[in-house]
């Protein structure tokens, strides 16, 4: 079915439509659905990571053993580090899709706004700071991710000169004792909390989970999740700064 007067007239093109996952992703609603699903994957990882971090409070041995244990997941059925790599590839694919959808939607939405905007400052009633800055909180988290991987996963010498592979506890302290790094972690956690606060609510709408009986729980869920994650993550940098972890 084709609309008369629309910007593109699909009746004039005779090409066969692409397979449905691609056609689905080409639509904005499909992109938002993909953002919701990849967002859930990301949130799942973030929860798992936060819980893992708490091993730091148990001491050097426990956190190092936990980190080593991640590489052994699936043994002896799967080869060592096999499942961890499957997980990493899955996370990377989710991240790429999430970021691609975010940028293409942002660009399309800017076009949809037209060339002349409102002169008077908009008096927003429902849109909030988090919802209107998703792209920026997302960019901050993305930049932080690059820094964090270089700092504590890969151990790029320029970022963390004292990095020793396998010494999770010592690496953590060596890095977070530097106050600029401490600040980077705190700011990134703030951005992540804002991002999740809107995202964890928004994803229900995007995938169409909607029931007036339970709808008020969606906001509460997002608020709870964002706060628990923020507090859980911040315990480590603050623990190091206040000398609880040393």
């Amino acid at each position: 079915m084709t609309a008369t007067g629309s910007k593109t007239d699909s009746a004039t093109t005779t090409r066969r439509p692409p397979p449905w996952p691609i056609r689905f992703y080409q639509s904005d609603v499909g992109k938002k659905y993909v953002m919701a699903i990849t967002g859930i994957v990301g949130i799942g990882f973030i929860i798992f990571h936060m819980l893992g971090n708490l091993h730091t409070f148990e001491g050097t041995h426990q956190i190092n053993e936990y980190a080593e244990g991640l590489r052994d997941i699936g043994e002896p059925i799967a080869p060592r580090t096999f499942l961890v790599w499957i997980g990493r590839i899955g996370l990377l694919a989710s991240l790429v899709l999430h970021v691609h959808a975010a940028f293409s939607l942002t660009i399309a939405n800017q076009k949809a706004r037209g060339t002349v905007g409102y002169d008077e400052k908009r008096n927003y009633l429902a849109a909030n700071y988090a919802s209107r800055t998703m792209i920026w909180s997302g960019v901050i988290v993305l930049l932080f991710l690059a820094f964090h991987l270089a700092d504590l996963t890969i151990g790029v010498k320029a970022v963390n000169p004292d990095f020793t592979r396998g010494e999770v506890y010592d690496n953590l302290i060596a890095s977070l004792e530097r106050w600029p790094v401490f600040l980077i972690y705190v700011i990134a956690q703030g951005a992540l909390a804002l991002h999740i606060w809107h995202g964890a609510w928004s994803l229900f709408q995007s995938v169409g989970i909607n029931n007036p009986r339970f709808n008020h729980w969606r906001r509460n869920f997002a608020t709870g999740l964002a706060s628990i994650l923020a507090i859980g993550y911040l315990t480590v940098p603050f623990g190091i700064m206040f000398g609880i972890i040393h």
Binding site: A3, A112, R122, G208, I209, N210
Partner: protein, 253 residues
């Protein structure tokens, strides 16, 4: 009461526009917002100037023709009403009121405060109908409709197509309008046969004109009929289903 107006004036679709200042003196607080513009226009006409062009028809909040961005809020400071139902008592004496047309790429300005909203018609054309058997009129109430479903459908059908949702949306998305039009048919038994096809066709056309919904929920507060973003979630769900469901089974229930 006396107010100052800062109004967007634009000669035509292709001309450049700008803001002009007017003063409206001795306006009754009981005057409606559009009546206040009428008074200003009478003075402008008497002075040999072009009156301010704005859209209006029923002036009782049911046609959806009126729609102005007033002080950065679609339909002005009062929630749940269209511009025509807004009264001057909502403003204070001496206030400067900024009046702008709806802004969106899909809503080009025709003149002054009037925009072309025919993109909405393109969406309705492809899905705003149901198939009915022609012939003798069937008995009334032949098809049972659950009461809550009937109410939900009626709530969606309250959409007057004014465009405030698009005007309010930071992304200029047409989701709330489309969801209301899809919802009021798809919630009823009579709307089931075309339900998935309707979702797909309406969303596809919507996306040719409008931005995408990022769930700010600003449209809901701007809507003079208070239409809920719940309908957007339902539209999203039906669109996903339209992509994956086996439509050969659509006749089953």
């Amino acid at each position: 009461m006396d107010v100052k107006l800062r109004v967007w004036r634009q000669g035509g679709a292709f001309g450049a526009g700008s803001f002009k200042e007017y003063s409206a003196a001795g306006i009754s607080p009981e005057a409606s917002f559009l009546e206040m513009l009428d008074i200003v226009n009478e003075e402008l006409t008497a002075a040999g100037e072009e009156p301010i062009v704005f859209d209006h028809d029923c002036r009782e909040g049911i046609c959806g023709t009126c729609g102005l961005m007033i002080n950065g809020q679609p339909h002005g400071p009062q929630q749940g009403t269209a511009t025509c139902q807004l009264h001057m008592r909502k403003f204070s004496d001496g206030e400067t009121i900024v009046i702008e047309p709806w802004r969106a790429a899909a809503f080009p300005v025709i003149k002054d405060l009037v925009v072309d909203r025919s993109a909405f018609d393109r969406i309705v054309e492809v899905g705003g109908f149901i198939s009915v058997a022609t012939g003798a009129a069937p008995d009334a109430n032949l098809i049972p409709v659950p009461r809550d479903a009937a109410e939900a459908s009626m709530d969606a059908a309250a959409c007057i197509g004014c465009g405030a949702c698009v005007a309010a949306c930071p992304n200029s998305a047409g989701q709330l309008f489309t969801a209301a039009k899809h919802g009021h048919l798809s919630l009823l038994p009579q709307g089931q046969p075309e339900r998935l096809q309707r979702a797909q066709a309406m969303v596809d056309v919507m996306e040719k004109f409008f931005g995408s919904c990022t769930n700010h929920a600003e449209c809901e507060t701007a809507c003079p009929k208070g239409i809920s973003i719940d309908y957007i979630a339902q539209l999203n769900k039906d669109y996903v289903k339209s992509q994956v469901a086996n439509r050969n089974l659509a006749g089953q229930k």
